[in-house]
């Protein structure tokens, strides 16, 4: 759900799910820098692996946008196309820094 402030809210019902989602989101936020460093170093294998895992995990964590971004990261990394990686990386950054985990009221 997109809020008026432009954030994306992921609504959770229980403590265990909330804990896992917060951990997942924290990992993705730290992954943002890792992906940029990998791009600078030309480490396409790292980006391919990260993209592949995002395809599998994004939707499972209620963030289908990450599944879409992951597919594009993986595809561009396989093709070793650094310029095409810029857009999905920007989207990744924007998404993970604007998503919020909220409890159902």
């Amino acid at each position: 759900m997109t809020t008026e402030s432009g954030c994306f809210d992921i609504v959770v019902d229980d403590d265990a799910t909330e804990h896992l989602l917060r951990k997942y989101l924290a990992n993705r936020r730290s992954q943002s820098g890792e992906l940029r460093r990998a791009l600078s170093a030309g480490d396409f294998a790292f980006i391919e692996d990260a993209g592949h895992k995002l395809v599998g995990s994004g939707g499972a964590y209620g963030m289908p946008r990450l599944t879409d971004i992951g597919a594009r990261l993986e595809e561009c990394a396989i093709l070793k196309c650094a310029t095409d990686l810029s857009a999905p990386l920007r989207e990744f950054d924007a998404y993970v820094h604007n998503v919020r985990i909220v409890r159902r009221q």
């Binding site: 265990a16 799910t17 896992l20 951990k23 997942y24 990992n27 692996d49 592949h52 895992k53 395809v55 599998g56 995990s57 994004g58 939707g59 499972a60 964590y61 289908p64 599944t67």
Partner: protein
């Protein structure tokens, strides 16, 4: 059910474990093929969930082939992968997978498919109807076992253990699996000897022997295997 999960992505394995354990199953996670091979040699499971692509460690498809061809292990397998093309699905099913789910996984669908496979394999608990393993009949509502029509008095634990073993007939089940299933997760005070004693009792009380068409053997350092005798003797069973 006791489920093994082969998945190299820790994020993925954590959410899947949460979903399945919330649904009443117990999950053991393996992060690479080597751990999976060792773990499934030591322990028994009711269901395997295999990811296809496992990075440097290999592939879930190889593990499936190992289970089916090398070990002749028919434990139900669900494949989970991002590969959605038809030929991948056909390859996995032809190699012996029982089901195939394309990632990203969805909670309700995964739990429903796991439960469906469990029901199909006769492993999920049900308290209705009867289960027939001639000459043994389990009356699930009355929690009673009959041998050739004659009721046998079993304690609660003995009944649960007998039902557990017959539902997994032909499969080598580990002591740990038995402990978890019959004695529950808090088993710190249960000794392996206790399991052996209970197995001996049900073997005796139910007269599980070649004459009745079944054998219940203890496998050193692993567990037990209940299996039907292929060339069974048609002689009537002996009295206890």
């Amino acid at each position: 059910m006791r489920i093994s999960l082969l998945e190299d992505d820790l994020d993925q394995s954590e959410i899947v474990t949460l979903w399945l354990e919330t649904a009443g199953h117990r999950v053991t996670h393996f992060g690479c093929t080597e751990d999976f091979l060792h773990g499934t040699m030591r322990e028994s499971f009711d269901l395997h969930i295999l990811d296809w692509m496992l990075g440097q460690s290999g592939s879930g498809l190889d593990m499936l082939k190992e289970l089916r061809r090398q070990r002749e292990d028919n434990t139900p397998v669900i494949f989970v992968t991002v590969k959605s093309q038809e030929h991948f699905i056909v390859t996995a099913l032809d190699a012996g997978a029982d089901d195939y789910i394309v990632k990203p996984l969805r909670r309700s669908e995964l739990v429903a498919r796991v439960n469906a496979l469990g029901r199909r394999a006769g492993l999920l608990e049900s308290n209705r109807g009867r289960l027939e393993f001639p000459p043994y009949t389990f009356d699930l509502e009355r929690r009673e076992v009959r041998v050739a029509g004659v009721a046998v008095a079993l304690t609660h634990r003995e009944y649960e253990l007998a039902l557990f073993l017959f539902r997994r007939a032909g499969t080598l089940v580990s002591r740990q699996h038995v402990l978890e299933e019959i004695w529950g997760l808090d088993q710190s005070k249960v000794y392996t000897r206790t399991v052996d004693t209970h197995v001996s009792r049900i073997r005796k009380k139910l007269n599980i022997a070649e004459q009745t068409g079944w054998t219940l053997t203890s496998v050193y350092q692993h567990g037990y295997r209940l299996e039907a005798v292929e060339d069974r003797d048609p002689d009537p069973i002996q009295d206890n």
